[in-house]
């Protein structure tokens, strides 16, 4: 660890900060005051930049060094220290009470906090659901889908339009939203089956935008940019609910939906289908050579992922009571993608954490809202460098066998 303070390293940092100071000189130091026609020299900015970059370059290399050391340790066979979350989840004495506490907190949330807070929480839960859905496509099957928001929009418009034209209620449309999502998933999945990686990403991104543009321009069908208003909230046995009660009600519906999602995604993950997805992500050729139908496997991933987005869309429409195409821009897809990447691809707990962090933090750190996108970007870059596996890495299921418990020779 002391290597970091060697003369060599100091020299490196020195040149870095010199170069940085030089680069930022024109914008950070020189300012032309056009009113008084003088040039201001803000030397103290230069000092901040130089010392700042000197320090940061040290920090950067220190972190890289630590990461390398960690990797070497892992390679030389030494057991990696389990991450905190994993240690908590492996120990029933800790996680049981923790789970109970979380459950109580979650259930009593609307009574402890204002409806404003409950609303934010509901939004976060919608993103949890979206994240878990996209996690099937990206995290498990490894298909980089940047147009996921299209299915979310499909669900929302399904509810809004069916309600507008035929007066169908929330509970009738919720399963329909799932079906519409699944069908859209298959329809969009077919043409992109042959594509991989970057190409798939570009084409799905295009699809997402096409759906939004159609909604924006096809006035007769979707009422264009002005959107659809007065979408009813979920009914509760025909009773009229006050605004607060309705907010709380949607919150509880969302809790239920998230639990159902977790339940099913968890089962899928450790099933024949889930394993095929992961195999597809790991190596497409080997996957086919092992008898897996690539086309079918990709399509199930696409359509199952889209199913959750469709349902989330229905709930979103019911929650906001108003939708228009502006709610379904590429930015939404990007946020959901960030949730999956930040949380940890393929890990359910990770995605939940990722959604809560990415949706709640900006809400509560309003002071930083101007820098929101910058922080988003910086966080992702740092994650990619230092923790590509996300906050919580995916852990495979362990099977127990009689007589196989003793390991090693």
């Amino acid at each position: 660890m002391m290597r970091i303070f060697s003369l060599e390293e100091i020299k490196k940092s020195f040149f870095t900060c010199l170069w940085f100071g030089f680069l930022t000189f024109p914008i950070m130091v020189v300012r032309v005051n056009t009113i008084e026609d003088v040039v201001e020299w803000r030397w103290n900015n230069l000092i901040i930049v130089v010392f700042g970059s000197f320090f940061l370059s040290f920090l950067w290399r220190y972190m890289i060094e630590r990461k390398e050391a960690g990797r070497k340790k892992a390679e030389s066979g030494e057991a990696e220290k389990k991450p905190l979350v994993r240690r908590i989840m492996d120990n029933p004495r800790i996680y049981r009470p923790l789970l109970a506490a979380v459950a109580i907190f979650v259930l009593s949330f609307p009574f402890l906090f204002s409806s404003y807070q409950t609303n934010i929480m509901t939004t976060a839960l919608i993103y949890v659901m979206l994240g878990l859905g996209l996690n099937i496509v990206i995290g498990l099957a490894g298909l980089l889908d940047l147009g996921y928001v299209a299915f979310y929009a499909a669900g929302a418009y399904t509810y809004a339009l069916l309600n507008y034209h035929f007066g169908l209620g929330f509970w009738t449309v919720l399963p329909l939203g799932a079906v519409v999502g699944a069908i859209m998933g298959i329809l969009l999945g077919f043409p992109v089956l042959r594509l991989r990686g970057d190409y798939l990403a570009i084409v799905t991104l295009g699809f997402g935008e096409i759906i939004r543009l159609v909604m924006e321009n096809w006035n007769e069908f979707s009422f264009g940019p002005s959107g659809i208003a007065n979408i009813p909230r979920p009914g509760f046995f025909g009773m009229d609910l006050s605004l607060t009660a309705a907010t709380n009600y949607i919150y509880y519906i969302m809790i239920g939906m998230v639990l159902i999602t977790i339940f099913f995604v968890n089962r899928l993950q450790n099933s024949r289908i889930g394993r095929a997805w992961i195999a597809l992500r790991e190596d497409e050729i080997a996957c086919q050579a092992m008898g897996i139908d690539k086309t079918k496997t990709k399509l199930t991933a696409f359509s199952l992922g889209a199913t959750w987005a469709g349902m989330a869309g229905v709930i979103f429409a019911a929650k906001t009571t108003f939708i228009n195409p502006a709610s379904f821009t590429f930015l939404e897809s990007a946020i959901i993608l960030c949730i999956v990447v930040l949380g940890g691809m393929g890990s359910i707990v990770g995605v939940i954490l990722g959604a809560l962090v990415l949706i709640l933090l900006p809400e509560y750190l309003r002071a930083f809202s101007d820098y929101r996108m910058v922080l988003f970007g910086a966080t992702l870059v740092l994650m990619m460098v230092f923790r590509p596996q996300g906050l919580v890495s995916d852990v495979r299921r362990v099977y127990q066998f009689k007589g196989a418990t003793e390991k090693g020779e």
Binding site: F264, R267, L268, S271, R272, I273, G274, R275, A276, I278, A279, E282, D283, I285, A286, C287, Q288, A289, M290, G291, I292, D293, K294, T300, L304, D394, R396, R397, V398, Y399, F401, A404, E406, K407, G408, E409
Partner: protein, 266 residues
């Protein structure tokens, strides 16, 4: 002896390059056949063509799975998808190991059983009785294979963390899990030390005798090829230049020239 795989005049072109040129080859039930030849001869391309990864530009591939009730009429499998080839009973390994690195050893073998199991999306989500039973059978079966391949102690390790030799064996285990009648091994001994190679020879013999699976292997290790194979096919520049018993191949001037000729030119 009936051939279980029969290849007639198989050709494969990559643009102007003729990687396979009218190759005839057959594998009989219960035999260990070897395909040898200098680097770039077209051996891997041959495997890729008969397993459906490439669609050959010419020729015919017939398979006749042994032990079928209604006689084994050969079936032409040109151009069908790799997963269908596997389902019909030919499984392979790869020259550069292609395991599912971040899955466990057991899961890798379980993947091999994908085409022999049937749980669908609904079954997985609802966890029906049949699903639970199938899953349990699958785990037991896969563990059984790992035990026979001597990999049982790695069962819950991630495939990428396995030592090299074990990774090669895991690829064989995974292919065996598909219950093939013919196992295609692409350079199984590459990168192994002498001890591992000796274990591999035992393993391949066991696969033929105990698992009743015929084997066709590509290999550069001549000692291994000569001790193991019943018949050897030799390729050079996409053409089959010789075939026969090890003793015949060993003294075949054409083969010697193909191998040594390169050194003389170089």
């Amino acid at each position: 002896m009936e051939p279980i795989l029969e290849v007639n005049k198989l050709s494969m072109d990559f643009g102007g390059l003729r990687a396979l040129d009218a190759v005839d080859l057959d594998v009989k039930n219960g035999e260990i056949a070897a395909l040898i030849g200098p680097n770039g001869a077209g051996k891997t391309t041959f495997f890729n063509c008969i397993t459906g990864i490439y669609n050959p530009s010419g020729g015919d591939i017939y398979i006749a799975p042994p032990g079928k009730k209604n006689g084994n009429r050969p079936e032409r499998i040109n151009g069908i998808k790799p997963n269908h080839v596997t389902k019909k009973g030919m499984a392979r390994t790869f020259q550069n190991i292609r395991l599912f690195g971040s899955m466990t050893v057991l899961e890798n073998v379980m993947i091999g059983r994908h085409c022999r199991t049937r749980t669908g999306v609904a079954g997985a989500m609802l966890r029906l009785k049949s699903t639970v039973r199938e899953e349990q059978d699958l785990v037991d079966f896969s563990y059984g294979i790992l035990e026979r391949m001597g990999l049982a102690r790695f069962v819950n390790d991630l495939a990428k963390n396995l030592p090299y030799g074990a990774q090669r064996r895991l690829e064989i285990a995974r292919a065996l899990a598909t219950e093939p009648f013919l196992l295609l091994l692409d350079e199984p001994a590459a990168g192994m030390n002498p001890q591992e190679t000796r274990d591999l020879v035992d393993l391949i013999v066991r696969i033929r005798d105990d698992e009743k699976v015929s084997v066709m292997l590509i290999e550069h290790d001549m000692k291994l090829v000569m001790t193991l194979s019943d018949r050897i096919f030799v390729m050079d520049y996409g053409k089959k230049i010789a075939q026969g018993k090890p003793s015949e191949i060993k003294n075949d001037p054409v083969v010697i020239k193909a191998y040594l000729g390169e050194d003389v030119d170089a």
